[in-house]
């Protein structure tokens, strides 16, 4: 099998394995399914165009998380993007996000949402999250504490920390 075909096959396996994760991160950042789907496709293409560690099982997941977050960050600032905001959160269009992610989480700044997802759902440590997001460990810890206060009611049940 040519090198090219090997890479594509590997990329396909990676996409199938991490599809839900990429999609969830994109939803956390962009708040709507249409934009999340655009980012999902961009990230998949990046697997072949951006020197992804396709054959490194240890690092490919972190790479995907970083790339997805960065693409979401760029997408939000893009002039092609049509930004949608409610007058305030309590009057946000209920049909926009189909209530996929708790509203309380959406009320947090983007960086907090990523930390919450990586900590509670993907179960990364603070040190690992700091490395993925390129931030100081203390900063991550502070943000996590602040987010926990705000999300207390939905994070408490079953929280073993």
């Amino acid at each position: 099998m040519s090198e090219q075909n090997t890479k594509i096959k590997q990329a396909e396996q990676i996409i199938r394995l991490y599809a839900d994760m990429i999609y969830r991160i994109a939803l956390h950042n962009l708040k709507n399914t249409a934009d999340a789907e655009d980012i999902f496709q961009d990230v998949c293409l990046a697997l072949l165009t951006k020197n992804a560690p396709l054959f490194d099982d240890v690092h490919i997941k972190n790479w995907l998380i970083r790339v997805t977050i960065n693409k979401c960050k760029n997408f939000r600032k893009s002039h092609w993007q049509s930004k949608t905001e409610a007058l305030d959160l309590s009057r946000e269009n209920p049909n926009k996000t189909q209530n996929l992610i708790p509203e309380l989480v959406y009320s947090l700044p983007q960086k907090y949402r990523n930390i919450i997802y990586l900590y509670y759902y993907e179960e990364y440590t603070i040190a690992e999250i700091a490395e993925i997001l390129g931030e100081n460990k203390n900063t991550i810890n502070s943000k996590l504490q602040r987010a926990r206060k705000k999300l207390k009611e939905i994070l408490e049940e079953g929280d073993n920390l």
């Binding site: 072949l48 002039h79 007058l87 994070l155």
Partner: protein, 311 residues
């Protein structure tokens, strides 16, 4: 996964099967069509000089030498010329997209510096809802437009040509073989200009330098593709405009008259923008011409026009 209300909700979110399959199929399709791995190759166009054009250029060159500002040193019979002249021209299209001449940038008259088929544009909106969550309207808060730059420097002993944008930025094709150097935007500049949109592999820079023989211009024989996305000209200038809150609203994003909005807003603040075009000569000296801009909208097309700044 830590068990709580949040993670239980997240667990339910799955990437749609159709999305996954479509993305994978896109990868296979892109590779089969050589869209992913093969860099597009661009031809180098050379301007064909007819004898008539050559004679005209010589005449204009002579006149330009007389008209250029003196830099304070009087030439003597034994000294080299202090400043080197060059001619800055553009192949500007008419309303039908046809072009048969190279027009020199004038100090008196604005000249179109891009073809009728521009490259990129976009706008950002904020959606407004009422108390019940019903849609009211969209407020346009930003517009952006990219124009291809098809300028040509002509002169003796020019080695490279540098383009430097002021209060805006250039977008350039990194793979272009005539590109000598690009000074990329700083992070602050990217934030300021909202220079984040790049879906076609172009980079963003405050300055680009090209080989004299590979300048980012098209030729008289260049044909525009039908879909109007002429990406083979490797240098563009982009203008990002933030709009006053509530000044432009729409109830239909598909019907926004971006050309009109951009023309009005750009021309009201065009003084802040400028483009330096610097010819770098073999003897180490350089000469710069500064261009100022305005937009012209004929309801069908939006043009970028330039005039040489003599202030």
């Amino acid at each position: 996964m830590k068990r709580n209300l949040y993670t239980q909700d997240i667990e339910k979110i799955k990437a749609p099967d159709e999305l996954v399959e479509k993305s994978i199929n896109t990868l296979y399709g892109a590779v089969n069509n050589n869209e992913v791995f093969i860099m597009k190759k661009y031809k180098h166009f050379k301007l064909k000089l007819t004898s008539a054009i050559a004679a005209s250029l010589v005449l204009v060159l002579v006149l330009s030498i007389v008209m250029f500002k003196d830099n304070g040193e009087s030439p003597t019979p034994d000294s080299n010329p202090v400043s080197h002249p060059f001619i800055l021209s553009v192949q500007a299209a008419d309303s039908l997209g046809n072009s048969s001449t190279m027009d020199e940038i004038s100090k008196d008259t604005y000249v179109k510096v891009n073809k009728i088929k521009n490259f990129g544009q976009g706008f950002g909106t904020t959606t407004k809802y009422n108390e019940n969550g019903d849609y009211l309207y969209d407020e346009i808060f930003e517009v952006l437009k990219e124009f291809t730059l098809e300028l040509d420097c002509s002169g003796e002993n020019i080695e490279t040509v540098t383009y430097t944008a002021h209060n805006t930025y250039l977008s350039y094709m990194p793979s272009y073989e005539g590109l000598i150097k690009a000074i990329d935007l700083t992070e602050e500049e990217r934030e300021k200009y909202n220079a984040y949109a790049s879906f076609d592999g172009f980079g963003w820079a405050s300055s680009c330098t090209f080989d004299y023989n590979c300048q980012p211009k098209s030729t008289l024989t260049f044909e525009l593709p039908e879909d109007s996305l002429d990406g083979s000209i490797p240098l563009r200038i982009a203008f990002y405009l933030e709009l006053e809150d509530g000044k432009y609203t729409t109830t239909s994003r598909d019907n926004v008259d971006i050309k009109r909005i951009f023309e009005e807003e750009f021309n009201s603040r065009s003084d802040q923008y400028a483009l330096d075009v610097t010819a770098n000569f073999a003897d180490g000296t350089s000469t710069t011409k500064t261009l100022k801009f305005k937009c012209k909208n004929d309801a069908t097309h939006l043009y970028l026009c330039a005039i040489e700044d003599i202030s």
